[in-house]
């Protein structure tokens, strides 16, 4: 999936419009990626950030929190509090049934999109 995204991102960032488009693309797949990360195992916010950052999917960390809250309010996520050895309790996120369905649908449409795009841009 990371490679697919890299195809989307041209290295030229002098043009403001390209920067905008890049940001828009990242924003478009952020929800999918976040859901995918959570689906692998129960995670807390910092784990998600780590993973997204290593793939250059987010620029500032703050982006994630409004998204998590929205997904939770939409019923795609739920969380539980878990004690931590190194500090205060943490929120661990997991997908709900709806979240799983939504992820499957998104994955499917991503695959279609990716094939379609690859075909066009070759």
């Amino acid at each position: 999936m990371q490679n697919n995204v890299m195809v989307f991102v041209p290295s030229n960032n002098r043009n403001m419009n390209i920067e905008k488009t890049k940001a828009q693309m990242r924003k478009g797949v952020l929800e999918l990626c976040t859901l995918a990360i959570i689906s692998e195992k129960d995670v807390y916010a910092s784990d998600i950030i780590e993973e997204l950052k290593s793939s250059d999917l987010i620029v500032v960390e703050g982006t994630l929190y409004p998204l998590l809250t929205r997904l939770k309010n939409d019923g795609l996520l739920q969380y539980r509090w878990e004690e931590s050895t190194s500090g205060p309790p943490r929120k661990y996120y997991q997908l709900t049934k709806e979240g799983e369905d939504s992820l499957t649908a998104l994955k499917q449409s991503w695959k279609e999109l990716s094939i379609a795009v690859d075909k066009i841009i070759k």
Partner: protein, 543 residues
């Protein structure tokens, strides 16, 4: 030595330097404000706080000291500004970056480098200028009549102080100079033209393609209209601010000039007073009240507040400042109060013009033994002597510069020449004035003094009539009517139309005269210049 605070974020305790604490708490405030409208806003904020605490903990473990401001800045960079965190996926991306640009150009009062309130230092930082130039400009404006003081105070109220660390960072962050503004406009224009060409291409194709593409085109058009609207709005605001500011300053400068008496004389209609300021004039010659000082102050406030508000709002629009509701409300209250008091105290002054009176005096020219009446201006008491080189002999009087005494009220008389109904020269003088009642109007006429001199063949007229020292201006007027019989001549000095108020027809003819005096006689109900008797077309009709 630095002050350190102890704070608790999400269950973790940190020692933090005071400046770092202010920056951090402001950051949290901004985030809270930003997400307050959103569903689950509080949760977002507490999640972000938890993450900040975590990041801080990592940083502290490296150094084991109190959190300093650099560390907070680093964390803010990692987390991002609230507008960069937007949750709404539909929101256009352009918005965020645009706001960054606007957000970074911010004018603050720089109290760290201030002499008074940091206005000059702040403006200097904003315009990339050494504040000394701005201070010099303010000082110069003070010498041109307090405009600088008023402007400084207006800016002091308007411009927020760079109180917090982040204000200071923003203040110094991206400085806006002309080049940057130009770049910004170019950038927006390029963006717009891009959009436009994109849109027009799409519009062409729209007929040949399917519906989704057309939809996309419409959405693009919508976006384009939105961004165009934004730019136009900002430009309009800028333009409006510029106009308001210029109007305000344009009104303030003459106000100050008249207030502090930097004009040689006050002249209105046909009246002249030299050497006193407008407030002095008003209380000496106009106000009919026991408390001229109160009326004067409230009148000043009534005029000054709208002018200052013009400047104030002009600056506000120019720099895109927020409205200061409190300042506006206070200004309106003060203005209303001043206006009402002004009305109350000026009532007696206004009614002092209620009654009018006219007094007509007739004079005959006894022993008139000449065909010609010579009309001359009295120069002895009003004009400076022109002396010979050895300062002994008086050559003539300098007609161009009347000597007007300081603070005295001079009025210009009107002068008309008409056809007499018999064979005699006649003179009529009309005195008119206003007053509370008819008696007052008549008293004002009695006190109006106009000096002229008639002898067998000359009429010597004073260039001005005067009011008595204690007398108020109540629309006093003096009108001189000279009746000339047919077959007789009048000689008129060129200085007469220069000082007396005459009809346009006479003035036009007389002002072109090269000789010191010109001769006129009556023919077919028209006054004709005697030396040009043949040119009847140029004659002046009898009034």
């Amino acid at each position: 030595m630095e002050k350190t605070l102890s704070i608790n974020i999400n269950g973790w305790v940190f020692n933090i330097n005071e400046d770092a604490y202010h920056l951090l708490s402001e950051y949290f405030e901004n985030i809270t404000k930003y997400f307050s409208k959103e569903e689950g806003g509080a949760e977002i904020v507490s999640d972000i706080e938890a993450r900040v605490a975590e990041l801080l903990k990592e940083k502290i473990n490296e150094s084991e000291t109190a959190v300093n401001i650099q560390q907070i800045q680093e964390i803010m960079e990692i987390m991002g500004q609230p507008y960069e965190m937007e949750a709404d996926a539909d929101d256009s991306i352009g918005e965020g970056s645009k706001r960054t640009n606007f957000g970074s150009r911010k004018l603050f009062r720089d109290t760290d480098n201030s002499h008074i309130a940091g206005v000059a230092a702040g403006l200097g930082t904003y315009f990339k200028l050494d504040p000394i130039f701005i201070r010099i400009a303010f000082l110069l404006l003070i010498f041109t009549g307090g405009v600088g003081v008023i402007l400084y105070i207006a800016l002091w109220i308007l411009i927020p102080e760079a109180a917090s660390i982040s204000d200071k960072i923003r203040m110094e962050g991206k400085k806006v100079d002309i080049k940057n503004i130009e770049d910004k406009v170019k950038e927006e224009a390029a963006y717009l033209s891009d959009r436009l060409s994109e849109f027009s291409t799409e519009a062409k194709d729209a007929y040949h393609k399917t519906r989704p593409v057309r939809k996309k085109g419409i959405k693009k058009a919508e976006e384009m209209i939105k961004s165009t609207g934004r730019i136009i709005l900002r430009l309009l605001k800028f333009l409006l601010g510029f106009i308001l500011f210029l109007t305000g300053v344009g009104l303030l400068i003459p106000f100050v000039i008249f207030f502090f008496n930097w004009v040689p004389g006050l002249e209105f209609e046909t009246f002249t007073v030299h050497g006193i300021s407008l407030p002095q004039f008003l209380s000496t010659y106009l106000f009919d009240t026991k408390h001229p000082l109160i009326l004067l102050s409230t009148l000043t406030i009534t005029i000054l507040i709208p002018v200052i508000m013009l400047i104030f709002n002009g600056i506000r629009f120019l720099f895109n400042f927020k409205r200061k509701k409190l300042v506006g409300a206070i200004a309106v209250q003060i203005w209303l109060a001043a206006f009402i008091i002004t009305l109350g105290f000026s009532y007696t002054t206004l009614t002092a013009f209620k009654a009018d009176a006219v007094n007509i005096t007739h004079y005959d020219f006894d022993e008139m033994n000449s065909d010609t009446l010579y009309i001359k201006l009295n120069k002895q008491s009003y004009f400076q002597d022109v002396l010979t080189g050895d300062h002994k002999t008086v050559l003539s009087q300098d007609e161009n510069f009347p000597i007007l005494h300081k603070g005295e009220f001079y009025g210009v008389p009107r002068f008309r020449i008409r056809l007499s109904d018999n064979d005699d020269f006649k003179l009529k003088i009309f005195y008119s004035a206003s007053g509370h009642k008819d008696e007052d109007a008549h008293r004002n006429i009695q006190m109006t003094e106009y000096v002229f001199d008639i002898d067998s063949s000359t009429l010597v007229l004073d260039p001005y009539f005067k009011l008595q020292p204690s007398q108020k201006w109540r629309d006093q007027e003096v009108k001189i009517e000279l009746f000339v019989p047919s077959q007789r001549y009048v000689s008129i000095e060129t200085s007469i139309p220069k000082y007396l108020k005459m009809s346009y027809k006479w003035r036009r003819r007389l002002e072109y005269q090269k000789a010191k005096a010109s001769y006129w006689y009556l023919e077919d109900d028209r006054f004709v210049e005697a030396s040009e008797m043949m040119m009847a077309a140029d004659s002046v009709a009898v009034e």
